[in-house]
């Protein structure tokens, strides 16, 4: 159980982790039902569907119905997992997730793939920068963002018996490895993935790896930066945020609009606690997505290690 970051990417892409874990969950628990909206081939579950169409249900291109069916399954004792691309898993089904699932008291796990700029060549129509904001506003919802393959697998298992509505955003590709396979995660508890005393970066998803790279660059300059993986955006780990604030310099980094995301959650926490470190939010600055390769998009929206380094230098 440890942090094993060395900058290299996870060897297994997350769509493979997702597909294998989903099938293992179904095998382990007959009440697990997997639902997708004609994107099984995209997330590594099509073979599972062909092997076990009783527990893997293809709902066709009808996301609203998928979430409603999941609510009905939950009310009849099943444990539904739903997947589609992030924009469809959030804004397209928001009322169904809000009312049929959350307000209705049902337990449904929603997975939105291709968060933010990782949607790359699918472009602005498929590039959710607002999904975290939407789900944060649903009472008692759980909002997670995956930063690592081992984390994805572990959290998918943890969510099996988790109550309420959860929304998990994940890339289908791979980010740099952060954790050993046996790392334990607790929803509501963020992870300190790098210790440091001069400043702290609270990041999630794609930006955890960028933050680690930024911390390495700054370490070479003698600046000791703490990095926190706040994969549990809601419930937020308030204690960890306030502890990081003790460094006196804090930035948040997210592959999401800075409005309504991790940065806002952290800012509100600091202000209400009466703590005021130097503070900046890194994220998409109230813009829509666009098409292009991910590295281009990261530069375009300021979502790189270099942006983090420059921001921290500017605050010092």
């Amino acid at each position: 159980m440890s942090i094993i970051y060395d900058g290299s990417l996870d060897k297994i892409v997350y769509k493979t982790v997702f597909g294998e874990t989903m099938e293992a969950l179904a095998k382990a628990d007959p009440d697990v039902v997997y639902l997708d909206a004609d994107l099984m081939a995209s997330i590594g579950t099509r073979d599972f569907w062909k092997r076990n169409p009783k527990q893997a249900i293809n709902c066709g291109i009808a996301e609203a119905n998928m979430i409603g069916v999941a609510a009905g399954l939950s009310s009849a004792g099943k444990k539904p997992y739903c997947h589609t691309f992030g924009p469809f898993a959030s804004r397209r089904v928001f009322d169904q997730a809000f009312l049929s699932v959350a307000y209705g008291g049902n337990n449904v796990r929603i997975f939105g793939s291709d968060p933010g700029v990782t949607a790359a060549f699918n472009g602005g129509t498929h590039m959710p920068f607002e999904d975290i904001a939407l789900y944060r506003a649903v009472p008692n919802a759980t909002v997670l963002e995956i930063s690592d393959g081992a984390m994805l697998k572990t959290l998918m298992w943890q969510l099996k018996d988790y109550k309420g509505l959860s929304y998990t955003r994940l890339t289908r590709k791979a980010y740099p490895t952060i954790y050993s396979d046996d790392h334990k995660f607790t929803i509501g508890k963020g992870e300190v993935v790098r210790a440091g005393k001069d400043a702290a970066i609270i990041a999630c998803g794609l930006m955890v790896g960028e933050a680690m790279a930024a911390a390495q660059t700054l370490a070479a300059e003698g600046v000791d930066v703490q990095v926190i993986d706040m994969f549990t955006i809601k419930p937020l780990d308030v204690d960890l945020v306030l502890n990081a604030a003790k460094t006196g310099m804090l930035i948040t980094a997210e592959n999401h609009n800075i409005i309504g995301g991790l940065g806002d959650a952290v800012a509100a926490t600091l202000l209400e606690a009466g703590v005021s470190p130097k503070f900046k939010r890194i994220g998409v600055n109230d813009r829509f997505g666009q098409v292009g390769p991910q590295d281009f998009l990261q530069k375009e929206y300021g979502l790189t290690a270099e942006n983090i380094v420059n921001t921290l230098r500017g605050m010092a």
Partner: protein, 280 residues
Amino acid sequence: MDIKQTKIFAAKIRLETVKMIGKRGFGHVAGSLSVADALAVLYNDVMQVRPENPTWDGRDKLVMSKGHAGPALYSALALKGFFPMDWLNTLNQPNTKLPSHCDAKLTPGVDATTGSLGQGASVAVGIALARQMDGLDARTYLFLGDGECNEGQVWEAAMFANQHKLANLTAFVDYNKRQLDGTVAEVMDLGDIAAKFASFGWYVQVVDGSCVEEIHKALTTTGGTDNTDGKPLCIILDTVKGAGVSVIENVEMNHHMVVEGDLLNAAIAECEAILAELGA
């Protein structure tokens, strides 16, 4: 089926619906009245439920997707003994267990939370799918409004029910021909609603929605899981919005209306006269 008893049950649903909405002074009265007869047949004669154990796993379930018809459902449930009759006086009062739209977390016997139209269709389909997976011999009943069928989600759910051969699902369409802003024809014409469901792969019956015998026949001759060619069953209830209470039927904009004073007294008198005629 004891036709007279079922008619009495329907008349009592109407009386209680009018009274509870009258107590508040306004509400979704007309769309509640139009489903009273179907609810009476279900709860008096057809559905397997245990009022003393509302969450019994083996029960038939009902999803009132036209969630604003909550008052009619609450009347049926109270008459059936799911909760005390005096709860009906609390409709839409602070801290009530009987909100304007159905809430499964609040009300014993309510199986799904509804109110955003179209959503109950998918929830009912999900319940039916779970029961099909479990091999549980229990039906799921869904109530859709005709105006509600404007919602695309209804048709997503209809396709899904056919794809998964949910023969354990019965959907009623309350074809009362009126929605909030006017007639269905002038707002968003449904065309041939029976043909639409049939073309989506459902076994469709059209009945007089005020005739308990016809409703019962449609449910019992084709309502078994093996009599609809493996198809989900759709029963179009040909109804009138405000059915059975002429002073409400006659109000043009009756989707949500004021029910007080002389109109309330006349409505109660009408319901009581029907009960008296039935010897109840």
